[in-house]
Amino acid sequence: MGDKNVLVIGGGTAGLSAAVELANLGVHVELIEKSKFLGGHAIGYTCKAIENTCVKCGACMVEEKLQSAVFHPNINVLAASQVQNISQNNRFSANIRQESLVIDPEKCTNCGLCLNRCPMEGAILQGFSKNNHPFYAVNIKKCLYFKDRSCTICRDECPETAIDLDKKASEHTIEADAVLIAIGFKPFNPKDKPYGYGRFNNVVTGLDLERMLKQSGRVKKPSDNKLPQKIAFIQCVGSRDAKLNHLWCSKVCCGSALRMARLIKERQPKTEIAFFYMDVQTFGKDFEPFYREAQKDIRMIRAIPGDIYEMDDRRLKINFVNNSTHETKEEIVDLVVLSVGITPVEDIGTMSRIFKIGPDESGFLRTDHNGVFTAGTVQGPMSIPETIANSGSVAWKIKKYIDGLTIDD
């Protein structure tokens, strides 16, 4: 016990959950995460409880997994790190490159002065969880120092001298008995849909809304920071779409969107909400009563809009065909939320190459052979509770494999 090592690639819900399960079994885990903050997409999700009652979205579970992982003695975390290459000779040997973290976690006290003083918007990034430590990171794509060395304000003013703008990237070698690929999903990019995402400020994605609610507790129009009077949710953007060959339901969007819609109705009761959908999908054990309540407050429109235009006053005109009358109808709203689907993440390509395993026909990656495993949404759409269950089952498989109890066919 304790002499086995597992490399977990990806520090989102799946990677964290599987790492914690393995670590609890006495397995040592090296967890590497590409971005600067652990927790994946879901750590930015908001709690959607209404009427002081949990609606089982699972966002708090991600927080709990993150907390367990960062304090676990059997888990070693490398943020801002990626696999360069990997060789397998009984065990795996992986070369990892860790980008410079710039802010020293040992010294940083999360005071936030760097963010306050930074003259470039977006150059200091903020985490989502108190277990994102440091809570701040330097975005070298925006930082002026990395552009032309013209600014060193954060370094100069940091009271703890925690910022080293010249810090170099580092290389690590990790030996492992098994590898878990838990690199998550890519939210569908709706810029090619006729909904004006990226062109109209007040068209946002479901993920944007999750983060907005988590940050500020309210929904505001990005154009002027004012509260919207009328919001439209559009479901199945990039899911169940034969034209894109996306022949899957993303599973999480109906739950996420309806829960956020009800949360908004509770916090900003004057807001009118329209919900464009194909079929409302079941989520959770309390789906029926939840959906019944939702239908009282939210106007359900069974249609997927054709396109969206921005009007002179920045309001948005949504065109859709009314099913029963066949007339083109329009709906004018202040904010549009696109429920973008779960799609395969680009890094599946890299992983396929490194580990010589091919994705399935939809482009997702699923394997449990020869010491290489996948968990979570890299396998396909999953909710947070499903991801946690899936990761537990994969942790079990990994444990059996490293103990020599698996017979590979």
């Binding site: 002081n52 927080e63 022949l247 079929d279 999908q281």
Partner: protein
């Protein structure tokens, strides 16, 4: 040496659990109320014992040491087990009555159609005479992806193997499952016609042997009348009634539909409110075959894990001082983890105790202690004069009892996010809001608090299931007392939070500060301040 694990059930999920445990060399015992079922071909061995026709009667002890009494063919048997995994199969009820239909040779439930499709070759089947089949699913009551999958698979076979025209009448087609959207497309390509209802419903008429279904198609707005040769009615998956017995025997929570496992994210995927008792697959909800396999692996993981033993030692456990115990049995009845046992004395099972403190808050004799929860330790944290008072402004001393799993974490996030919190806010961490007693609140009030908040987990998110509800009852009662004695009720507040609600933590606490600042200092306090530290707006009030 670990004791054997008891598995309840004889279906595919129970078999999957057993297989996983046998692989890692665990000792298991299977008790099924029916025959061997899926365990056919399994022989008793040193690691495996199967008890058929065995129904549980009672269970004593706790994790690591359960003693279960059962009956097998009217004889009683005793089973000792370290862990218990519930894997009973679910049941199905046909939805004929929802559609106003009666079963007949051509109105059949979905399960019957599955049997027809499985049993015979196309040529010999009763289906060979049939040209048109209608499926009714999720029209009156929402369907589930498990049922939708069966409907679509049956429909596909009818189209492809039997050349039968199929219609699926539904409201929301449930494609929220692996491969279901592809299956939907495949059935459409094979010729299945989908008719979806949104606001309207079809008229369904049964006269002797004929079924007539009339509706206005929502897409074409045209009237349709269908007269199928066979009508297949969907089913509702329900919990086995045996689970009701098991919830009582084991003192475990069930959800609103009778499945074992409260609808609480902290229990996902296979945990219950009792340590060492796991629940899987069709005993905890409506799950696909894949999800049942995943459950079985998670249960095996939970049984094998050292986690519980190693990590929980950090918890402060409840201790009963028997000389003070008046045997009111509040602890026994209220413990959400069933960690209190009744022998000659009332005792805490340390392995089962999760340290929530609900017993201490409700102990009439004051006999139960958890370190860090006693009054002295808490009052030590609150002292009058703790809050520096600026000239002319009143900074209220606000005491927030915060649940360690939610509000304590939310506060840390609020600070990280740079939110300003009230100057006079004092946080007292409690393992669960259910640990807060009347004594705590009155003592804190007496010690100088101008306002008291109980910040708990949301309903349905309490790790101890009802801790937040108990806290709510305490608040309600004390507010009642306040109104009788004419003390401002607003000084006591209960709010719910989750660990990831940093922004909301700052809203709630700042709003409370405003309320209390407007009320002014607590009058319980007015004579306790030394003359030179009197709060500014108390001048003239002290005479």
């Amino acid at each position: 040496m670990k004791k054997q694990t008891l598995i309840l059930g004889n279906g595919p999920c129970a078999v999957a659990v057993a297989e996983n445990l046998l692989t890692v060399g665990s000792k298991i015992i299977i008790a099924t109320k029916d025959d061997v079922g899926g365990f056919i071909g399994y022989a008793d061995s040193e690691d495996l014992q199967i008890l058929t026709e065995t129904r549980l009667v009672s269970c004593q002890g706790s994790v690591g040491n359960f003693r279960i009494e059962a009956t097998q063919n009217n004889k009683s048997v005793t089973i000792d087990a370290g862990r218990i995994i519930i894997a009973e199969e679910d049941q199905r009820t046909s939805n004929f009555s929802l559609y106003g239909l009666k079963a007949s040779s051509n109105v059949i439930p979905l399960s019957r159609m599955k049997i027809l499709l499985n049993d015979t070759s196309p040529e010999e089947s009763v289906l060979s005479e049939i040209k048109k089949v209608i499926f009714l699913t999720g029209i009156v009551k929402e369907s589930t992806p498990v049922i939708a999958n069966e409907v679509m698979e049956s429909s596909l076979l009818l189209q492809k193997e039997f050349n039968i025209q199929t219609y699926i009448l539904t409201k929301n087609l449930k494609v929220v499952g692996d491969g279901l959207e592809s299956l939907y497309r495949e059935t459409k390509n094979a010729g299945t016609i989908y008719i979806k209802f949104t606001d309207s419903l079809p008229g369904i008429y049964q006269e002797e042997d004929t079924i007539r279904i009339e509706f206005v198609d929502e897409i074409t707005s045209r009237n349709f009348r269908l007269t199928p040769d066979m009508t297949v009615v969907d089913e509702t998956i329900v919990a086995s009634p045996y689970l009701t017995d098991l919830t009582k025997i084991f003192h475990i929570e069930a959800d609103a539909d009778g499945f074992v496992q409260a609808d609480n994210v902290h229990r996902y995927p296979v945990l219950t409110n009792r340590k060492g008792i796991m629940v899987t697959g069709p005993s905890r909800g409506i799950l696909t075959d894949d999800d049942q396999r995943i459950d079985a692996e998670n249960a095996a993981l939970a049984v094998t894990g050292l986690a519980e033993e190693e990590m929980e030692t950090k918890l402060e456990k409840a201790e009963i001082h028997s000389e003070k115990c008046i045997q009111c049995l509040n602890c026994y009845h209220l413990c959400p983890h069933h960690a209190i046992t009744l022998n000659e004395r009332v005792e805490v099972e340390p392995d089962a105790c999760e340290g929530c403190g609900i017993c201490t808050a409700n102990c009439l004799g004051g006999a139960i202690r958890i370190k860090n929860l006693n009054l002295q330790a808490i009052l030590h944290q609150i002292k009058t004069g703790d809050v520096a008072q600026a000239e002319q402004t009143f900074t209220p001393l606000l005491v927030a009892f915060c649940c360690s799993r939610s509000a304590v974490q939310a506060r840390e996030l609020a600070l990280c996010m740079g939110h300003e919190l009230p100057l006079g806010l004092k946080v007292i961490q409690v393992p669960c809001a259910g640990a807060i007693s009347y004594d705590h609140i009155f003592a804190v009030l007496k010690n100088g608090a101008d306002g008291i908040m109980l910040l708990t987990c949301h309903k349905g998110n309490c790790h101890s299931e009802r801790g937040n509800i108990f806290a709510g009852q305490v608040v309600k009662l004390i507010k009642g007392i306040f109104s009788i004695i004419g003390f401002e009720k607003e000084r006591l507040s209960i709010q719910t939070l989750a660990s990831n609600m940093g922004t909301e933590f700052s809203w709630i606490t700042n709003r409370f500060e405003k309320t209390i600042a407007a009320l002014g200092p607590s009058r319980l306090m007015k004579n306790q301040w030394p003359e030179n530290q009197r709060r500014p707006n108390m001048k003239g009030n002290t005479g």
